[in-house]
């Protein structure tokens, strides 16, 4: 395997493992061989999305062209719970605010800040520990999905990763909003 083939292979594997960030050592290789990597994944119906400005790259299922039978899914879709979704939406908002304020560097939140942010939307509970645990569970799930990253050597402090913007986009939010509104109306009708 010559060095170029190796770089293409490594880039492809890193993309399969998850989001590749600008800060990663695989980034340069991926940019240089983006054509070859794209060709590789095009065969199995995956798009390689590379955002130069934001500095991240990931795989996405190619939308089938009109009349085409969609291929079997390679990438799993995941339905999040309401609590996880709500946290994700609020984090997305924080991201916009962070950027609008012109802050540099990365958006970092502590557990207290996350709790503060979400508390308003939770049913009032006297069981503080239960609320805490519930938020903890959501945070861990978002960590496993790559939207939050615990800072090295700091417990209870998370970086909100930029990739959030790509996954929680206008379309996704609008779907969620519609579903939620429907649920709210449906609930009212039942009463």
């Amino acid at each position: 395997m010559n060095p170029d083939e190796r770089a293409v292979a490594t880039s492809a594997i890193r993309l399969m493992q998850g989001v590749v960030y600008q800060e990663s050592d695989a980034w340069e290789d991926l940019l240089r061989h983006r054509g070859a990597v794209r060709d590789h994944f095009a065969v199995i119906g995956l798009d390689v999305v590379i955002d130069d400005d934001e500095g991240y790259a990931y795989l996405r299922t190619t939308e089938p062209e009109d009349g085409d039978e969609p291929l079997p899914r390679v990438i799993r879709r995941r339905a999040l719970t309401y609590a996880d979704s709500l946290l994700l939406v609020l984090l997305r908002k924080r991201m916009v605010e962070f950027e609008s304020a012109g802050d540099q560097g990365q958006l970092v939140l502590t557990q207290d800040e996350i709790l503060e942010m979400i508390r308003l939307f939770l049913a009032h509970s006297t069981d503080e520990a239960r609320v805490l645990k519930q938020v903890d569970t959501s945070v861990n799930r978002l960590v496993s999905m790559g939207f939050l990253r615990q800072l090295r050597g700091r417990r209870d402090t998370w970086e909100v990763r930029r990739i959030l913007k790509a996954f929680v986009d206008g379309q996704t939010l609008s779907d969620f909003s519609a579903k939620l509104a429907e649920y709210a109306n449906g609930g009212a009708d039942d009463e």
Binding site: M16, E23, L80, S100, G102
Partner: protein, 477 residues
């Protein structure tokens, strides 16, 4: 300034608050030294904590009975960077997990004010007047539109220079500055040099303020699309084309031009050769300090412009607006729903990456040996063990055995092993007999004759032993 404005500054300006802080001497001496005197830029938390720890240790060492600073270094830092204090800027740079701190312009201001309280034994005024006049000339010359007048001014200066040349030719001492005049100029130079360094932080802060106001205007824009685009275009160039941006760029270009660098180095070098001046050593490399600080500022400006460019990209801008609107909708619905059972709907997302799990990578079943614990061991009987055998391990030296054979058997002759043993009684028992059999040298051949049998008697550890074995013939080549 009126009373209210000054009162507001006293309450709100971080520099003033810094002077009023309980720990002002610690704050100013430590942060002033670290960020201003030593010229550190944004630094990782660990580095500053280490330095502050040393400082606290030293301060507390002055009176070990009653240590004055009882809190941990990290506590002080957190307090100084809190929104209420605002003495330090605190942020997470991209690609690192450590908090970084940088001084604010307020710190520079407070520190330089405190420094200026030091009475100076000599205050030069002449050089400042000269500088002021020179600036006036530049303004007048630079704003004069009539070329005739500009030419006339240049002519006047040319004549002046020619007169100076004549003077020096007539009298080599003419035009030399006396030491007071030199000191006067040096003082002004060194204070300007230091002020310049201090100004960079403020320049940076101003850039950030420009950036913030641009983003604010864009984020709250309510006008039409056409107006928006116009605003975006002007927003894009706002930083570079501001007075701040242009002045800084001109400074940066001049400082980094190679002729500028060389001239500065040569001039600063000359400064240190004037003994009477007792020039501060650090002043000789002050231009490196400028270059470093300017480089940092330049980097910030680049980052800010880059981010602002991205932010003003209309697609992202529109997306951000849409996202905020949608989030507000969702928040509204979520508030309505919060009293009931949590809804059973959520976001549906693709995962990042592809789940690949190789079945063969995973062991299907692994048998773990059952472990038994037996804590009831029967007591061991006491036994005399001869430990000397461990120490008395014998090693048969094949070289010695070969030497014996060479003594005994003539060249090309043969001998039986039993005869050899008669001449050289066995000392190490069976091991020695085996040693003979295993001899492997160029000139000795040991063969066994399976047909014949022999019995060799020997002593081992005081006991008489008998070995029954095939007949062994030793032959020398």
């Amino acid at each position: 300034m009126d009373y209210a404005a000054i009162d507001a500054l006293r309450e709100r300006h971080p520099a003033w608050r810094m002077l009023r802080a309980t720990h002002a001497p610690l704050l100013l001496s430590f942060l002033g030294r670290f960020f201003v005197d030593e010229g550190h830029g944004a630094s990782p938390e660990g580095e500053i904590i280490d330095a502050l720890d040393d400082e606290l240790y030293m301060r507390n060492g002055e009176d070990p009975e009653n240590p004055r600073f009882k809190r941990a270094a990290a506590d002080y830092l957190t307090e100084w960077a809190s929104t209420d204090s605002g003495f330090l800027r605190r942020f997470y740079p991209l690609g690192t997990d450590e908090i970084h701190y940088d001084a604010t312009p307020a710190l520079e201001k407070a520190y330089s004010w405190v420094q200026s309280l030091h009475a100076r034994p000599f205050v030069g005024t002449e050089s400042r007047l000269q500088t002021a006049i020179e600036l006036l000339r530049q303004i007048a010359q630079g704003t004069e539109v009539d070329p005739e007048i500009r030419l006339a001014e240049l002519q006047r200066r040319k004549q002046e220079i020619e007169r100076e040349i004549e003077q020096i030719e007539a009298d080599p001492e003419a035009g030399l500055l006396d030491i007071t005049a030199v000191r006067d100029r040096y003082q002004q130079f060194s204070s300007t040099a230091r002020e310049l360094l201090a100004d960079f932080r403020e320049v940076e802060e101003n850039f950030r303020a420009l950036d913030r106001s641009a983003r604010e205007r864009i984020a709250t824009w309510k006008g039409s699309k056409g107006d928006l685009l116009e605003e975006l275009v002007s927003g894009r160039s706002r930083i570079d084309s501001s007075d701040q941006g242009r002045s800084f760029q001109a400074f940066y270009d001049m400082l980094l031009s190679s002729s500028g660098q060389e001239e500065l180095s040569a001039l600063l070098e000359r400064l240190t050769t004037i003994d009477e001046l007792k020039a501060d050593r650090s002043i000789r490399t002050v231009h490196h300090g400028w270059a470093e600080a300017a480089e940092r500022t330049q980097l910030t400006v680049r980052q800010i412009s880059e981010q602002l460019r991205r932010f003003t990209d209309d697609q992202i801008w529109l997306e951000n607006r849409r996202v905020l609107d949608l989030v507000r909708e969702i928040e509204g619905t979520a508030l309505e729903l919060r009293t009931g059972a949590p809804p059973e709907c959520g976001l549906e997302l693709e995962q990042a990456g592809v789940d690949v799990s190789l079945p063969t990578e995973r062991p299907l079943h692994s048998v773990r040996p059952a472990s038994e614990v037996d804590s009831l061991l029967p007591p061991a009987e006491q036994e005399d063990v001869d430990t000397s055998v461990l120490a008395d391990q014998v090693i048969v030296d094949p070289a010695r055995l070969a030497a014996r054979l060479r003594n005994l058997v003539p060249e090309r002759g043969t001998a039986l092993l039993e005869d050899v043993v008669t001449m050289y009684p066995v000392e190490h028992g069976a091991a020695e007999l085996v040693g003979y059999l295993a001899l492997d040298t160029d000139d000795i051949e040991v063969t066994t004759d399976e047909q014949e049998e022999t019995v060799i008697e020997y002593d081992e550890a005081g006991r008489s032993m008998r070995a029954r074995m095939p007949r062994v013939v030793v032959r020398r080549r």
